[in-house]
Structures are given as structure tokens and as C-alpha cells.
Amino acid sequence: MTSRRPPWPLSVLGVAAVAIVCLPLAYLMIRVAGAGPDAWGVLERPRTLSLVAKTVGLVAAVTAAAVALGVPAAWLVTRSDLPGRHFWAVALALPLVLPSYVLALALLAVSGPGGLLGIPALTGFTGAFLALTLATYPFVLLLCIAALRRADPALEEAAQGLGRTPAQVFRAVTLPLMRPAIGAGALLVALYSLSDFGVVSLMRAEALTRAVFLQYRGAFDRDPAAVLALLLVALTILVLVGEQRARSRLGSGSRGGRTVRAASVVPLGRWRGVALAFCATVAGVGLVLPVSVLVAWLVRGSPSLDGVATATLHSLLVAVAAAAVTTLAALPVAVLAARFRSRWTVALERTGYAANALPGIVAALAFVFFAARHAPAIYQSLTLLVVAYLVRFFPQALAGVTSALSRAEPRLEEASRGLGRGPAHTLATVTVPLVGPGLLAGAALVLLSTLKELPATLILRPSGFDTLATEVWTATSVTHYSQAAVPALMLCVLAAPAVWLLVVRGSRGLDPLGN
């Protein structure tokens, strides 16, 4: 790749985008640095330590369980003769349309005294663990499916030819092939469950995000909430660094070429029934159960439709705006890193991924602190809300744009330049059309995430600006669960096309970490 000097407007735009992404963390640090000893005292409490331990425990359990569900499921739908495996591949990925807090609601509704299932109430750790696992295993599943489809089946076939049993082939060949995907998936799951706010709140599980919110809401002095928020950031950075270490130690595994032929199918034999039961259970609990609960509420509870149209419009408005703004903001950064590769452009791109360390509740707090004191003009405005989404989901857009750029042929751009077109003209007529589909995938992911986003929306939205997510939240805060049915179903309907795009496109846009 040639290392030309990038045109200055591109550099300015890229630096500006990354500066905005870094703003909340920087401001939070300033705020905490100026906080009194009282605020820091929150770190010395024994409760805080136990809170951290419980958070880590929850994240570790969810990650392990999501891998345990996602990996076998991916293998079954790509490598076995599971009946209806194309159907299962989609059905098992579909819980992605459900916001995790809706899953939590459904579990709460069917458990406990008066619940359908007659089991003890799924609250606290158990409930949060179940809901988060069901919400996140599709990440592992989709990444592993993509990895298996890319992997050259010749390796597995060779092992088979050498007389290895399917179990041995799986352990010795298939699993290592999937390892990078499992690692990336596990990281996504860990980051998701560490930053999740809705599930742990509904389940009243002890976790840092909820503690930050309770502290923010429950004290007159808000500095301790900021301190706890930074603690959460530190934990997130630990996860990111730990993953990097693990990846460099294990190596990145075999990437394999682009495969043209399908892998041969492993007959399941007598395990077929077990495999089917496994898939049916996971899809049943993760998809059929929550959707049935919502539909039952809809039919029985005759919930009011007041405000749903407005909330839908609001949700769409902010989600489309966030998707567009975030993708556009990521574009210059990705172009700089991919087309004008140099030390500083690469550093810029890496910094763009720093928002991965910024859970929604933390970004929300930082922006609310900043705007209330220093930017009253945009305080409680849609502008600020969309900027918060931009910061929060910048890595998703950046990964989408970067992977799209890496697929586009730079020589086409060079040819365009050679024919006398200026850089801006080339960008508009060659690069953008080439990377269009990848941009769309990135934008779809941001759209999906914004639709479901809860903590930042709750804290930053303009007064009286209800979205589908906040309507669900409001309904649950007074436990009129049935009132949550319409907005929750509406959310699923809106999310479906974005999920479809991601699933069909083989989840290539799914990895917001830029692995």
C-alpha cells in the first residue's frame, strides 16, 4: 500500500470523529479528578469489592455458557446432517431481534409464583445469567458459522481419511479452525454482558452497571457514580487487554482461503435426536418463549396503543440518524487507516475502538455531566442523544467500513486517480460504491444497537421523548408487563430487517472489534 499524504479535509474529519469518541471518557476523568475524597471512598467499601467480584462472575459465566451453546450449534448447522439445518441456522440466530431486557421480561413472566412454568422466580444472578446467555450466544454462533464456511474442508476430510472419528476430527481440526471466531465471539459476549444494564436491572442482579445507575439516581452527590463508572471502564479495559494477550499467545489460527465447495456432512446417527432436541430447546427458550409471552400479553391484556406510533417514529428517527451519522463519521477514519496507512492513521483507528471500553451507562453519565454544566444548548436534545449513540457504536461502524474497504480493490481507485479524477471525486464515484454493501452492514448494526439501546436513551433523551425502548422500560418499572408487549414486539419488527441483513451476509459486519 502506498503511503501518500492524505488530503487535509479527510484528516480533519477523521481526527474530529475520534476526538468526539474520546470526549466522554476524558470528561469523566476530569470530573473524577476534581471529586472530593468522599467520592473516592466508594472504592474502599467492602461492598464495592463484592460488586466487582459478582460482576466478573456473571460475565465469566455468561461467556462460558454462550460459547457452550454457540459452538456446538454452529457445528451442527454447518457440518452435520441435522434435519433442516438451514432452518435452524436462521432460527438459532433470531434471538438477536430481541432486546436482552425483553428476554429478561419473558423469563420473569413465566417464572415465580403465578408464572406459567411453576419454577422459582428467575431473579438475581440466575435470571440475569439466563437472559444474557440467550441474548449473546448468537454472536458466537454467527461468527463460528462464518469461520466454518470460510474454512477449507480439505483439512477435516484429510483427518477423516486418516481414520479419525468425527469427535477426533472436531477436536483436532475443526475446533482450532474456529478458535479465532470463538475468541472474537467470547469477547463480544463478555463486553456485552459487562455493559448490559437492562437485564441486570430487571433481574435485580448485582452488577456494576446497575450500581452506577442506582448511585447516580440515589445520591445527591453524583461524583461517586462517576468513580464507579470509571471502575467499570477499567474492568472493560482489562477484558479487552486480556483478550489481546490471549490472542497473541494462541496465534490467530488458520484463516483458510475462500472456499468454493461445501464441506462434507458428518452423519449424526443416533445423536440426531439429541441434536434436534438441543437446537429446539435453545431456539424454544431464546425465541419462541419470549415471543409467545409477548403475543399472549397482546391478546389477553388488551394493552393500550397510546403513544406506540409516536414511540415507533421516535425510535426510527434516532436509529436512522445514529446509523447514518456514525457510519459517516467512521468513514474518514477507516479510509485514512486503509488507504493512507502510516503510524498516526493506524493509531487514530485504534483510538476509535476505544469506545468499546465505554458501556452505555458510562457514556450517558459523561454526556449528562458535561452537557448540564458546559453545553446547555444541547443538553437534553436529540443532537446530544445521537452524539452519544455515535460514541457508543462507533466501533461497530468502523469495523464495518474497514472490512468493506479491505474488500475493495485499491487499484480501481488508483486507476480513477490516474484518469485525472480528484481524490474527492474518486471517493464519491469509486470507493463509496465499492464499499457500499459493507457500509450498509455496519450501518445496519448501528441501527439495530440504537433501537435496543436503553441506559443512554433513558438518561439523555429530551423530556417527553419516548422511544420503544423507554416505553418497555416504563411499563416494567410499574410491573405492568403486559403494557410492554406492544413496544417490545414493535422493536422486534423493526430490528428484523437489520438482523436479516447481518445473518444473510454471514455476519461479516458483526465484529465491532476490528479483529
Binding site: V42, R45, R47, T48, L51, G112, P113, G114, A121, R204, A211, L214, Q215, Y216, R217, G218, A219, F220, D221, R222, P224, L228, L317, V320, A321, A324, V325, L328, F369, A372, R373, P376, A377, I378, Y379, Q380, S381, L382, T383, L385, V386, A428, T429, V432, P433, P462, S463, G464, F465, T474, S477, V478, T479, H480
Partner: protein
Amino acid sequence: MIRRIAPLAVTVAALALPACGGDDDADLTIYSGRNEELAGELIERFEREGDLQVDVRYGDSAELAATIAEEGDNSPADVFFSQDAGALGAVEDTLSSMPRSVLDAVPDRFRDPRGRWVGASGRARVIAYNTDKFEESEVPDSVFDLTDKRWRGRVGIPPPNASFQAFVSAMRLEVGEKRTREWLEGMRDNDAQLYDNNIQTVEAIGRGEIDLGLVNHYYLYELKREDPGLAVANHFLRRGDPGSLVNAAGVGILKTTDDQDNAERFARFLVSKGAQRYFAEKTFEYPLIEGVQPPGGLPRLEELIGPQAELGRLGNQLRSTLRLLDEVGFTT
């Protein structure tokens, strides 16, 4: 051509959309510590009658008070409609004086002695209990009995709720810091179940998840309207017990308001016959003005004798009450 225009169109749309969600195009911005379930209809009625566009920000009263304090001069709020007198008192420095006529509509004990907020409706603290499991005579007459082992894991409390916080403030004023802390720690060690708000607490009693809950009296009736079979009833506590605090939801106008007329109009509306009847009939609270009948089946407001603490003194206590709740471990 379309290819060239499409990205441009997206850009323009993206930039235009957030801008059109104007910031202060409302005639009045209310920070409401009363939840939408109970107050939404009333506020809509105010909008309709006055032909006004009102924006409401719902939250917990203490949370909104802290928000107003954080925002300082930048607060977009015009009025603060609070669940309890304590949260209003906590931000009394940011409130301007109410018109005399509004203040005079309610009895002295339900308004700020210095005229910066006025009560809109009265409510009593009670112990709600599950009627399938208990006779009323078995329910304790004092909150101090709840730390008994007999109730281990069976009592629900809503610490984020402003009325609960006001009750703790009143207890601190009544029996002192030390006994209050001991009581809170006793509740914690007796495995008191924590809920976000009163409604969740009452519902948990109805489901049998817990036996008793410390709540305001009126949530029960709201839930019974939806589920007449709900097995929950209220027990009013011994006279003078901190758990029998009689509090007021109320309203204050922010000094920084840019809609003073509409803010006053809202305050006047809340103490009008129509709104007072709404409280009595729809939310089962005590109306505070003369000539409006209280809801049936409740003890008369004059018969309820809470702790000595005046409502006007609760505000000063809120910060330290929140800190105490936090230290005891009810916040994180």
C-alpha cells in the same frame, strides 16, 4: 446519478433530523417525580384545558432533585412536581415564591413555611400485607418490629423511592441518627427485599414473594382496580410511629423558568377542585383543599398522626438520608 445523490441525501437527512427535535418548543417543562401511571392523565388534562404543549420528564423525585441541583442555572425544568415534600425542600433554594392564592388553598402543614412549594395531595405511610397469609391483627404496629427474625426475608422496601426516603428522614428527626442507622442495618441484616418503587413492592406482596411492604397507602387501590382479587391490604401504624408519616406530593416553580405564567398556571391547576377530585377519585390520595371529599374506606386525614417532624424540615435531611441509605448498602 442516484448513486451520487444518495450519500448526499443521507448526509443531509442525518444532519437535519437531530436538529429538528427542537429543545424548548414546549410551553412548559415538568420534572415529575410522580410516575406516568398516576400523573400522566392529570397532566394531559392540564394540557388540554390550557391548550398547552407540555414536556414531562419522569423519574424518581430524589433523582430529579439531584438533577436540578446538577443543572443549576441551566435547568430546562420550569416546575418540579414531586412525590414528596422532602425532595422539594432539598432544592428549595432553586425555587421561587408561590403566588399567595395557591399557598393559601392548602393547610399550613402541607406547604413550605417560606412559600416556595405547595402540597397537592396527601398520603400516608402504611404497611401493606398479604391478606391470604395474615389477619390485620398479626401485622406489626410499628416499623421497629420489622427487624424481628419472624420477618426475615419477608419484608419489602423501596429505597429509591422519595416517600420511603422521607420516612427515613422523619425517623432520623424523631428517634435520632443512631437508632435510625441501627434500624436500617437491622432491616438489611434481616434480609429486607429491595424494590425500585412502591408499585413493585405491592405487586410482590400480591404474588406472595414477600409478606409485608413499607409503602404509601394509595398504590394498592390503583393495582386493585386492575386486579380486584389482589390479596393485599393496608395496615395503618401506631400514632406517632415514624412509619406513619403523613406526607404531601407537591409542586415548586424554578427560579430559572422561562415560562413563569404557565408554571403558575400548573401550580394553580393542581390545587383546583378538578385536580383535587382527580387525586381523590383516581389515585386514592387525600385531597388537600376544602370541599373535596376524600376517598371512601380510608381513615380521615385528621385522624392520622405521624411523627412530629414537619414536612418543611424534611428537605434539609435528604442529602444525609441518601448518604445513610448508601452507607448501609441500599444503593449499590
